[in-house]
Symmetry: C2
Amino acid sequence: MAKIAVLGHGVVGSGVVELCEKNKESIQKRAGQPIKVKHILDLREFPELNYADKFTKDFNVILNDDEVSVVVEVMGGINPAYDFVKASLQKGKNVVTSNKELVAAKGAKLLEIAKQNNVNFLFEASVGGGIPIIRPLHQCLAANQIDEIAGILNGTTNFILTKMVKEQMSFDTALQIAQELGYAERNPAADVEGHDACRKICILASLAYGKHVYPENVHTEGITDITLEDVAYAESWGGAIKLIGRAKMIEDGKLVAMVSPAFIHRESQLASIDDVFNGILVRGDATGDVVFYGKGAGKLPTASAVVADVIDATKATKTSESLSWIDSNENFVIDYTLSSVAFYIRCTAENMEEAKSAISEQFGGVEFLSRMDAPQNVLAFVTKVMVEKDVEQKLQNLKNTLQVISKIRVLDY
Amino acid sequence: MAKIAVLGHGVVGSGVVELCEKNKESIQKRAGQPIKVKHILDLREFPELNYADKFTKDFNVILNDDEVSVVVEVMGGINPAYDFVKASLQKGKNVVTSNKELVAAKGAKLLEIAKQNNVNFLFEASVGGGIPIIRPLHQCLAANQIDEIAGILNGTTNFILTKMVKEQMSFDTALQIAQELGYAERNPAADVEGHDACRKICILASLAYGKHVYPENVHTEGITDITLEDVAYAESWGGAIKLIGRAKMIEDGKLVAMVSPAFIHRESQLASIDDVFNGILVRGDATGDVVFYGKGAGKLPTASAVVADVIDATKATKTSESLSWIDSNENFVIDYTLSSVAFYIRCTAENMEEAKSAISEQFGGVEFLSRMDAPQNVLAFVTKVMVEKDVEQKLQNLKNTLQVISKIRVLDY
């Protein structure tokens, strides 16, 4: 029998305890032995639970219990999660976490400590909730060079954008509904400003490319400025607006990595991923595009990913070779303004015909978009793929002719 | 260094050799050691290849070479593949295969032999080509009860159906194009009659439910009878026709398993999987729906899945506990006529009003469909979900009122 401890009895933690009980037979079959929750760390008390006797407020009870071979960290945040995880690994315990903030900030360090102690640090649940993505990326796609990863990595923003696209709701109204349904926090900044998606693309890129990609090096834009006008233009262009986290290897081992809203064509496998669902596209040199789709959050989906890692941890006899990356002081993410991409640009102009011909001249040909009920003085167009910096310069050159209202990347997945 | 042998230098076999060379650095990194192809078994000769010296026509050269720790079987068919795989496992060698016919017919036996010899029999490439599905199913979704699996498992038929839906091509014309493009064999029966999809759903169901599901127990219908009229009605209903392989656990450990064309709603994640792509939906009790999408066949995608298994085989120290199922003489797939499903039915009738009211009376309410340019004497409708046998009986009761032309299941994924 394998005994585990769960740090944090919140949404995910209680889901882990529930799932270990509910599916104990199939879990035992897959693991080759029963798995039992021995301790639960939480500062709160839950006297009404039939497993109230498992709770402790003292982490040392867990750390010093040699029977505990796997510690599940589902507290969230960096402190004290980092210290608890580090201490557990150093004591020779495997650690499983769903904490994307921790993995994105400290992954390389914790993987190194795990290796030194011949145990595993596993984090399938940190990206995509219940969608298998970490394990497929390092195991199933191991024979591939990963050219690119792009995903809808945050369910809250995808829910809001879906409401805007399908029901013509404003951002504020959609956010309010997301909050009422419990999809968005009262302080929604981490979601709507893109930080959550940024942490997840950092984890995926670190794993795919072997060196830690830090969130502070990844340009991140949220969805707070997206308007229904932009949504309507995206539709007239032939697609929808999604918040996309992406990472792409370019020459010299450099990486383009970014989180931003983007126009995605209707035919794309990412375009039909709606509501709170997540979808992640991995472009391998051998497999071509592979897409993983499912619920990116929620109690049982996330708990299911945690428990799958627990099963793996109980079976492993040494540190995984493939689930690893190294730390690096060097920032190998390039300045995003040097990367190439197409842009949708919406602007106002006094003289429409003059503006159109000036735009065409500056950009060397663009696709002008139209939509019903657009104000007379509004113009929208999509550029060719070009270096971002050059787009900025060209818009600067046009500053006497037009005023830019919004600017959204156009991606081709 | 791990040394491997490849049985069969066809499309997949040559892809395995190519990939082992092309991505050798990343493969070595993931595997923790270099992986080298030592022997290739083929009756043909390839003197022009720069690795011509690796070829042998004698399987015993491979079997008796103790340096070879992994045998890759990519010959296809049951004979002599079964004998070669069995002998390899008995000699203590790991075996990796892409051969769905072999796994569907002999999986339980070969998994048992692998276990007796403490080696692994791996077959990620047998379903979904380069899409990771076998490993996610038994590892990542290990904490779930799998309620249901449904997939577009055959790229050839999906290509043909896509041509029919998007370009109004007839089945025969679309098949001819598929053959010209190399997507369909000269004898396309295994694809268009559903046998290939049947083998794949058998493999997935065996793994998900732990007992071998044999193809001969799974009712299988192909797409040869699908017409453009049916395609048009599917569109007017709000979806498309796809060839779906599915397996669902019901009470008493019994299984509903079937391959058939089906109406799939436009909003479904399976509806937007077009051309030669495959998509597999797994419905877990904890994760909800998870969908895996990508190229279901082709040289490098399939080779990439094979090589990922090779990497796993070289790292394993014992037989996988979770990648297994048992043999069973008992057929636990229920008679398909006893399962419940909705049907689309297209028929002719002499007196339309009389027929409509007779249909409504028999079926207790149906959804009548209409389409442009339908002949005056044609009626199409969708029933409620009911036992298949009862649908047959009701149509029998109506035999003096209408003549059934086609009958296609309507699925809700």
